[in-house]
Symmetry: C2
Subunit: 326 residues, 2 copies
């Protein structure tokens, strides 16, 4: 198995990317093709000992910055690690592409270079989210911010397969993110999508309200990319703010500091089950190739886990299975 | 000051509503007019001792249930506590209306009975949200799920006045909730709203991403009601799930239980600063009258604080000030 990794993508690239990929090579024996500025990749690689036969480097002189405008970056930086990396996947001989870089650019380049799977109009970013019960998939997290009802139906079909094959749960329940529980709630998009899902997805359980996302009510939650992106980022921001707030309160009181020390293990266990880095990568579903998007602030662990996701998608032959259903 | 309180609104009505209102009467010496089923109100009131001259009861035989369809409820239950209560505010002699009942029905009845303030097209629910720095206002949290750019500008104008007068902060910074930080991000709504806000609001600071909501970056964040509702409910659901998860981990380990006991005070301080019940009420801005919406699951404390919000809005003459600017 050969996985193409964007060595230049992410806030801490290439350092964290290469650190995580080296861990993945050792743990999973996958072959990694780093795409990016060759001198910088080589300089990083020198820090590690690893089986040389599992590493390949493809030079890409240009770097898409995290705040570059996606469409402009794709047009103007034709020799970026993103475009060249996805080009390798398209050409063949490689199984998946992993990037923690500019999400918009990865989505745009994947759509243009790989094309869409027949029967899918728009790509969707699936995000594996923790819940009180287990991991579930939410799609779309921001690839498509003007979703139409039929896009949500396509997301549901693809998402079900992902949950079934990669997360490993039989007959996944599909829910529609909405602002009320009854049919007829929401905007025109949700009303229409509700009907389509009801007609076409046997395991459709109806609306899921935003306060139910983390309860595990649905195995696959579909939504417009704009709303999904907000839901994801609110969660991230809230956890950070609450963490900061708790630390601030605890520091005021020596007894609380002792309490926090005693709690440390339990809290880190709890934290582990809600940490995106533990899952690592978000599949870009709908494009004709396996593309995994990592968080821009990916730690080495998150990069390693994104590669694990890629490996798992390859092993489960997820692309062929999606094509079969759509 | 006379505040009309919907005694039948909320999951724990009339019990929590009357308990909270009695606390408010004692603490703030406001006069409360309870609207609802007279016998049930009287039965609850018997539990308390309170200055009788500060309590009035207006009978409303019908009850809008929390899951009633808003428009249908308003049409069919013309003698509900919501419709009669808002009618009292319209008639005069009362200063504000507080309800923890069916939000959609309160919004619809307020719009129909009170009418809009000239210059405002749609009402918006403002939600006072805690941040690492202080309290801020986010508007709209779900009154208007098909917002147009000019609605967001109206929300910004009203929200600024609320933050300035009621929360008490000079020259509040206004931000636009969006999925990216740069101008040009988002859907057509956000792109157009960005221009309008830039042209009309001096203290406009640009886009605020959803992970920045709780950082205090903006004093007033404007957004479409659908997105605002999702953001609010995701936050609620996440805090609940994390709480459940932490308890589950802590229970596994006796040392952690001891740690949690030592931490209790600090955690409850931290919790207090993010607890909606501490703030209590969400102002419905844009309608021609002071309406405060409480959380459906309001505790007595939340009800008391919603009445405190109402009192504060009356004292700061917020309605006249909004009319002046719009």
């Amino acid at each position: 198995m050969k996985i193409v990794v964007d060595a230049m993508g992410g806030d801490y690239a290439p350092v964290n990317i290469i650190a995580g990929a080296i861990e993945a090579i050792k743990e999973y024996q996958v072959c990694i093709c780093f795409v990016g500025q060759q001198d910088r990749i080589e300089a990083e690689l020198k820090k590690y000992s690893y089986p040389k036969e599992l590493v390949e480097i493809v030079h890409a002189p240009e770097v898409v910055e995290m705040d570059d405008h996606a469409a402009v970056a794709i047009r103007q930086k034709r020799k970026s690690s993103i475009t060249i990396g996805i080009g390798l996947l398209k050409k063949g001989g490689y199984d998946a592409f992993v990037s923690a870089g500019n999400t918009g650019a990865v989505v745009a380049a994947s759509t243009i270079v790989l094309g869409m799977i027949p029967g899918v109009d728009r790509p969707g970013i699936g995000c594996v989210i923790p819940s009180l019960k287990n991991f579930n998939l939410m799609i779309d997290m921001g690839a498509n911010t003007a979703a139409k009802p039929e896009h949500l139906l396509q997301y549901a079909k693809m998402g079900r397969i992902y949950v079934q094959e990669v997360i490993g749960r039989a007959d996944p329940k599909v829910g529609l993110l909405n602002i009320g529980s009854e049919e007829g709630k929401g905007t025109g998009l949700e009303k229409e999508a509700y009907k389509l899902l009801e007609e076409n997805i046997k395991s459709f359980i109806g609306n899921v309200e935003a306060n139910e996302i983390y309860t595990g009510k649905a195995d696959c939650i579909v939504c417009d990319g704009y709303v999904g992106n907000v839901a994801l980022k609110v969660s991230e921001g809230l956890m950070e703010s609450v963490g900061t707030l708790m630390k601030r309160e605890i520091k005021k009181n020596p007894i609380a500091i002792l309490g926090a020390l005693l709690l440390k293990n339990s809290l880190s266990e709890a934290r582990k089950s809600i940490d995106y880095a533990e899952y690592g990568g978000a599949p870009l579903l709908g494009v004709d190739g396996l593309v995994i998007i990592g968080h821009g602030r990916s730690s080495p662990k998150a990069v390693k886990n994104a590669i694990r996701c890629a490996k798992s998608e390859v092993e489960h032959n997820i692309l062929a299975k999606i094509k079969e259903v759509l």
